[in-house]
Each structure stands twice: as C-alpha cells, then as structure tokens.
C-alpha cells in the first residue's frame, strides 16, 4: 500500500504564523474558504516541506525579500512537518528555515523512519527512493497550481505552451533553454570587440601609413624649396632656434621690454615645438609692445602739444584782461545789486498802492454820498417842520390849546350834570313854577326841552371839542417824531463826517492831491511808473549777469593757466614759467619723436618672423618623423593587442556556437520528451476529459508540436469530421477541463509510492455542470489517489461533499495577523 499524507504541522510558513496541525483524509481533503484565507499557503507549505521550494517564487521581487517565512512570526523561523504513512510504516519529514533577505536558498530535509533520523545531503535521495518519485518533479506532477491553470486558460501561445510543459513535467528544460538564450548579448560583445579592433587599426596602422606618405611628400617639397637634407635635422633646427632666441633677447633689451624666459631646449621635436611656440608668442608680444609704445609716445606728444598750445593761448588772454582787477568787478557788482534791490522794492510798493487805491477810493466816495443824502433829508425836514426849536414851540402851543379844550369839555360836563339834576328834580317835584323865578312852568314840556335841546347842544359841543383835542394830540405826536428824526440825522451826519475825514486822510497818504485827479489817471500814472522801473530792473540784471560771467571767465582762465603751468612744469621737470616753460615742453616733444623713430624700425622682428615661418614646415617634418618612429615602435604591441581581442571574439563565437548546440539539443529533447509524454498520456487524458463533460462533438484532445525554438504546442480537439483549434471552438470551461485532464493523467503516471493530487482552485472557469463533473471525477480518484483540493467555490464544496464518501472538509475563516482560522467541518 502506498504512502499517504496523514498529518501536516505548519508554523511560520507563508500565511501560517502560528502552529497549525491538520489531519488528512485517505480520500479527499477539502480546504474551503474565501480568497486570501490561507488555503494556498497550506498547499505551498506541503510543497515546500517535501521539495524545499515553492513554485512561482523565483526571481523578481522574490529575490528582494523572504516570501517563504511568515513576516509576523515571532520566532523568525518557519517549520513544516509532514507525516506520511502506509500500512505499516510511518515517515516524518521536517524542514525548517530562518527568515532571510531573499526567498531563494534551500534548507535541508530531516527524515525519521523506522526510529532513525536521517539529516544529510542524501536525505532527499533516500526519500525519492522510498517514494519512487522525483522530488524535483513533485511540483509539476502532483500539485496543480492555480497560476499554471490560469496560464493555460488565458496566456499567449508561448506562455500557454510553457504551462503545458509544466503540466507534462518538461518545463525545466524550456526554462533552461530560455536562460541560455543570450545570443544578442554575445553578438553585441563581439561587435564591440570588432569595433575596438577597427578603431586600433584606423588609429595606429592606418595612421602610420598615412604619416609615412606625408613625410615623403613634405621632405620632397622642402628639398624642392632649396633646403638640403642636413637642414632637416633636429641639430640644425635647434641651432636656428637658438639664433632667434638671441635676437629676441637683444630686442627685449633694446626696447626695454621684459618678457617671460624661454624654457630649456631638449633635442626632440616636442621641445622644439614648445620653443617654436614660445618664440612665436614672444615675437608677437614684442611686436605688440613695440606698437603700444609707439602709440603711447604719440599720445604723449599730442597731449604735450595740446597743453603747451593751450597754455600759450591762455597766458596771452590773461595778459589782455589782467588790468581789470577782480576787486573792481566785485565793487561794481555790489553797487548794481543795491540799485537792483531799490528798484525792485519800488516796483513792489507801487504795485501794493495800485492794489489798495480802488478800495480806499470806493470807501471815500461811498461815505461822501451817504453824507450828501443825510444832509438833504435834514434840510427837507427843517423846511417842512422847521428846526427842532421851532418844532418844540409848536408842540408847546398845541399842548396849551389842548388844555383849553379839556377845560371847555369839563365845563360842558358840569352843565350836563346840572341839567340832569334839574330834570331829575323836576320829574320828582313836578314843579308848577320855577324855583328861581317862581314863574309858572309846565315841567313836562320843560323836561322835554331840556332833554332835547340842552343835552343835544352840549353833546354836540363836547364831540367837536373831543375831535379837536385828538387832532391836536396827533400833531403833537407827529412833531415829536420828526424832532427825534432830525436829532438822529444830525448824529449820523456827525459820524459820517468824521469817517469821511479819516478816509480822506488815508487817501491823501496814497495820493496827496487825490481830489484833483481821477482814479484812472492815477492808476495809469502808477502803471507807467512800474513799466519804466521794470525796464530799468531788467537792464540792471543783465549788467549784473555780464559782470558775473566776466568774473567767472576771468577766474577760470586764471585757474586754467595755473593748471596747465603746473602740468607742463611736471612734464618738463622744471619750475620755469611762460615762454621758457613752452620752450622746455618743445624740447621734450622733440626727444619723444626721436624715440618713436627708434620703435618704428621693425626690421629685426620681421626677419625673425620670416625665419620662424621657414622653420614651421621643417618642425612639422621633424615632429612627424619622430611620431612615425614612435608609432613603429608601438606596432608590435598593437598587433599583440589585436590578437588578444581577436582571440576574445573567437572565444565568444565558440561560446555562441556551443550554446546554440546545447539549445538545439535541449529543444530537441524537450520536443521528443513532450511528444513521448503526450503519446503516453493520450488515452488517459481523453478518458479524464470525457469524464469532465468535454465538448459535445470534439471528444478527443490532440496536442502536438507546432513550432520549435521556442517550442509552441498546437492544442487541438478531434471530432468525427476533423480537427479544430481549441481556443477557437472551446469555452473556457472546456479548456479548463482539458488542462485538468493533462495534469491528472501525468500525475497518475508519476504516482510512485505517493499517489497524491493537489488541486489549487481547479474549477476557476467552470460552470455548475462542469464543477459537478469534476467533483464526480475527483471522487473516483479515491482510494487510488489521495486528493487535496483548495477552493473558495461553495458549489464545488457541495458537489464534493455530495459525491465523495471519504471527505474531510476544513473551513478557513478570515485571515488575521494570528494566521488562518482552520476548522474541521
């Protein structure tokens, strides 16, 4: 009876960061849970425990961190222990790994069997013998990775073929061939070396040939120019250069110009060229300095001439105006300034008067008019009512008359009272006779007459007197008012007279005889005065300005003469003045002109230039000759270097050929192995395929090699009426079924003493019917095979539990930092 995995203990591997122990069914063990819950981690732990590797964890990011050991595990190490059991024996396998900086590296396997512990490099070989399998092939033949299935279903032809290789167990050869494919890199290296050889040839060999040809041509040309072969030597050239150095040194002394020293001459072309260049440079510097000196001297002569001439001119001018002394000019300026101030002040005063005059005149005239009106009013009143004394008399008279009228009225009032008493008495007594004269009377008639006649008369008289009295009283009041008015007028007139007198006084201050002239006349007169005075002011200012200019010119001229005199004295180094100073300046100019003559002679410089020019071709010839000799010396080394490079190219070409031979044989092997394997598996593949309900028409799968390097498989299905490419006719579920069939057939072939099939998400593109078909097929694999399945698909779980008699289902809850929560359902 073959071995089965009965228990797996995992701690700190992949997503498992705490100790977990899982028991396995002899039939199907199902791990069910959501994506990311740790199902694949558990399967990878089994793979790592047995093989020491986890597929799909190579290269790329996996070289930058350890993806095998759990990042959160406290012990920083991961362990997997697998218990394998057959009918009689029990094998314990254990692998441990400390966390590293990369996912690569393989840890040794420890195996316990029959009470012995084997822990050496040979442990895996021993295990392979016991289980009769290749541990390297475990990952392909016993473990269907979800990535492999995905590649078959979704990838391009090359990647799809790569996945088929994985299912068939021939992937390693493909990967090896692909790694050997560095043709482009080798060809680039060969091209680079060839370029280097070409560059060396061009720079050395070709250069030497060109140089030799050039030397012959230059020599011929120089001999044709009249030089003999002796002159084309280093010794002769050095002699000529030394001569030029002596000449240039002599010129330095002559011109009193200090240039840099010449380097020491060596008998080789390099030194000659250096000296030649220094000579050229020195000669140019010397000539430049010579011309600069001429220029400076010319400028100095011009400067001296200009200053001397200016000095003479200024001195002559100064002599002419020297009699006018500055003190006189200053006095005159002072006088003019005073006069100008006076005139300006006068203009100012007249302008002020002109401004005040209309105001004052208006005040005066207004007062005068008011006085006239007041006087007229008084006279009119006096004419009408008399003067105040007369008015007082009239009032007195009228008052007396009023008194008389009032007396009369009192009398009448008395009479009225008496008559009233008489009437009352008569009416009471009803007298028949007069009490006074005893005359008989009719009192009734008498009373009637008294009432009618006497009373009416008295009343009439009283009324008349009252009216007269009122008239008199009105007259008295009117006269009183008029008297008061006259007195007020008199007071006003008095005040006006006083104001008028003041205004007249102020006006007479401006214009003494103002009453004799009109305002316009006075204004005109004053404006004329301003005009005339302004003209005078302008004249004075002009005169003052002229005098100032004169004074300034005089001062400047004096300063200029002094300055020029000082300058010329400095230039001539003498204390002379006037004509003697001018004469000394002329002598200096003559001396400078002589110096210019000396510098103007460029004969020696020109001669040296010609010498150097003639030497140029000879120096070039000598340099090329020396370079030619040196290059000839280098030639053997160059040839040696080229040979080395050629040997390198040859080695690279051999390597390229060797790699191509290996690749060709590897591909040949890969092709043969794949075809042999496919042939061997053909029946089983189709058997599995038909069980997972394949295509209704295309019942048989046919996988063949379509192209080599890289190896591309054609993936076809056969029907009664011909073949078809699966990718064009099949659904992804059918494709999924085909991939599962290849895996299961290969796995059953490679079963050995460990008949186990591990499926990670095997039904990722299947519909319900295909899922059930797969579940049924899986159930038939047991008990011949131990089956381990990881899925998140509830339908698959249901079908497996429905069709499988021996099944253990584990539920993996949500993954946390503590690791997955594994529960046996």
């Amino acid at each position: 009876m073959p071995y089965r995995i009965t228990t797996v203990r995992v701690n700190g591997i992949r997503g498992m960061n705490k100790p977990e122990e899982v028991a396995f069914s002899e039939g199907i063990t199902l791990f069910y849970g959501q994506n990311g819950s740790g199902k694949s981690s558990l399967l990878q732990a089994i793979e790592w425990g047995i093989t020491g590797k986890i597929s799909y964890m190579k290269g790329g990011d996996f070289t930058r961190e350890d993806a095998v050991v759990n990042l959160f595990t406290k012990s920083k190490r991961g362990t997997v222990e697998l218990i394998l059991e057959d009918a009689t024996k029990k094998i314990s396998l254990q692998r441990t790994r400390r966390i590293a900086r990369t996912s690569s590296g393989k840890q040794p396997l420890e195996m316990k069997i029959d009470g012995k512990t084997i822990s050496s490099d040979e442990t895996e070989v021993e295990l392979e013998k016991i289980l009769k399998i290749s541990l390297e092939g475990f990952s392909q033949s016993k473990y269907l990775h979800q990535e492999t299935l995905r590649e078959v279903l979704q990838a391009k032809p090359e990647e799809k073929s790569q996945a088929i290789d994985k299912l068939l167990g021939t992937y390693e050869v493909r990967d090896f061939v692909k790694t050997l494919d560095i043709d482009r890199q080798i060809i680039t290296s060969i091209t680079s070396l060839q370029d280097t050889i070409e560059t060396i040839n061009r720079e050395k060999v070709q250069f030497l040939l060109n140089l030799r040809q050039s030397l012959i041509e230059t020599k011929t040309k120089l001999i044709q120019q009249g030089l003999n072969e002796e002159e084309l030597t280093v010794a002769m050239t050095l002699q000529k250069l030394n001569h030029s150095i002596s000449e240039i040194n002599a010129l330095q002394t002559k011109y009193n110009i200090q240039l840099q020293n010449f380097p020491t001459i060596q008998p080789n072309s390099k030194s000659i060229i250096e000296i030649y260049r220094v000579l050229q440079s020195q000669l140019n510097n010397l000539d430049r300095a010579r011309l600069e000196n001429i220029n400076q001297l010319t400028q100095k002569i011009s400067y001296l001439r200009a200053n001397s001439s200016a000095y003479k001119e200024a001195k002559d001018k100064l002599q002419g105006i020297n009699e006018v002394n500055t003190e006189t000019i200053n006095l005159k300026i002072e006088e003019l300034k005073n006069e100008l101030n006076r005139v300006t002040e006068l203009i100012k005063t007249v302008r002020q008067k002109l401004a005040i005059l209309p105001v004052k005149s208006n005040v005066y005239n207004s007062l005068k008019a008011k006085l006239n009106v007041g006087q007229t009013k008084l006279i009119d009143s006096q004419n009408e009512y008399g003067n105040t004394k007369q008015i007082q008399n009239t009032i007195q008279k009228l008052s007396e008359e009023i008194t008389i009228i009032q007396n009369e009225l009192n009398k009448l009032s008395g009479q009225q009272r008496l008559i009233t008493i008489a009437i009352e008495s008569l009416e009471q007594t009803k007298a028949q006779e007069c009490p006074v004269c005893s005359h008989s009377i009719d009192y009734t008639t008498l009373v009637k007459d008294l009432k009618l006649k006497v009373s009416e008369d008295i009343q009439r008289k009283s009324k008349d007197l009252c009216e007269l009295e009122n008239q008199k009283k009105i007259s008295v009041r009117e006269l009183g008012d008029e008297k008061e008015k006259q007195e007020q007028l008199k007071r006003n007139l008095f005040q006006l007279k006083e104001s008028l007198a003041l205004a007249a006084e102020e006006l007479s201050k401006l214009v003494p005889d103002f009453e004799l002239q009109t305002l316009d006349d006075i204004t005109q007169s004053w404006e004329n005065e301003i005009k005339e005075t302004s003209i005078k002011e302008a004249q004075l200012m002009q005169e003052l300005s002229s005098l100032n200019i004169l004074l300034q010119n005089f001062t400047q001229l004096l300063s200029s003469v002094n300055k020029l005199e000082k300058l010329l004295q400095q230039e001539t180094s003498s204390q002379k003045v006037g004509a003697e100073l001018s004469e000394a300046a002329e002598q200096i100019i003559t001396s400078l002109e002589y110096n210019i003559g000396e510098y103007s002679d460029s004969t020696t410089i020109d001669a040296q230039r010609n010498n150097l020019s003639r030497l140029a071709d000879i120096i070039t010839f000598l340099r090329d000759e020396e370079r030619s000799t040196e290059t000839e010396k280098e030639l053997p080394l160059v040839e040696k270097k080229i040979k080395v490079l050629e040997a390198r190219i040859s080695s690279l070409q051999i390597l390229l050929a060797q790699l191509n031979t290996i690749k060709q044989l590897a591909v040949q092997y890969q092709k043969e192995a794949a075809l042999t394997q496919l042939k061997r598996l053909e029946d089983e593949i189709n058997s599995f395929y038909s069980k997972i309900e394949g295509h209704p028409h295309f019942k048989q799968l046919k996988i063949d090699v379509e192209k080599e390097e890289p190896l591309i498989f054609s993936f076809k299905a056969e029907g009664a009426q011909g073949d078809t490419y699966i990718s064009t006719r099949f659904s992804t579920a059918q494709f999924n079924a085909a991939a599962l069939s290849i895996f299961m057939s290969n796995s059953s072939q490679q079963a050995g003493e460990l008949p186990i099939m591990i499926f990670d998400d095997p039904t990722q593109n299947m519909d319900t019917a295909h899922k059930e078909a797969f579940a049924k097929l899986a159930s038939t694999l047991s008990p011949k095979f131990q089956v381990i399945i990881a899925t998140e698909d509830e339908e698959v779980k249901t079908f497996l539990e429905k069709h499988c008699k021996k099944i253990m289902t584990y539920y993996l809850g949500e993954w946390t930092l503590e690791g997955p929560d594994i529960k046996l359902l």
């Binding site: 390693e172 990967d175 070396l193 290996i662």
Partner: protein, 51 residues
C-alpha cells in the same frame, strides 16, 4: 521523465566533448541556483571574455 534523462540525452548527442562539459557545467548551475543563478553566471562569462 527526469532531468537526469535530459542530461544523458544531451551528452549522448552533443558532438564535441568540451561542448558537453559546458552543458554539464551550465545545467548544474541551473539546477543548483535556478534561472537567476545561470543567467548571472552567463553574464559573467561573457563579460570575462569581452574583457
């Protein structure tokens, strides 16, 4: 079918002995250090030959 069969297959068919030696060397590196290790080795060989 294992890699050892592959190794035997190639060595039997390869025409030159030194090519066979190279194959064995490269294949063992691949088995030991994987794709990255072989790739690194080949780069180093080419660089050494290029100088």
């Amino acid at each position: 079918m294992s890699e050892s069969i592959f190794e035997k297959y190639v060595l039997e068919k390869i025409p030159r002995e030194d090519d066979g030696q190279l194959f064995v060397e490269l294949y063992r590196i691949y088995i030991k250090d994987g794709k990255d290790g072989l790739s690194k080795h080949l780069k180093s060989v080419v660089a050494q030959l290029e100088g």
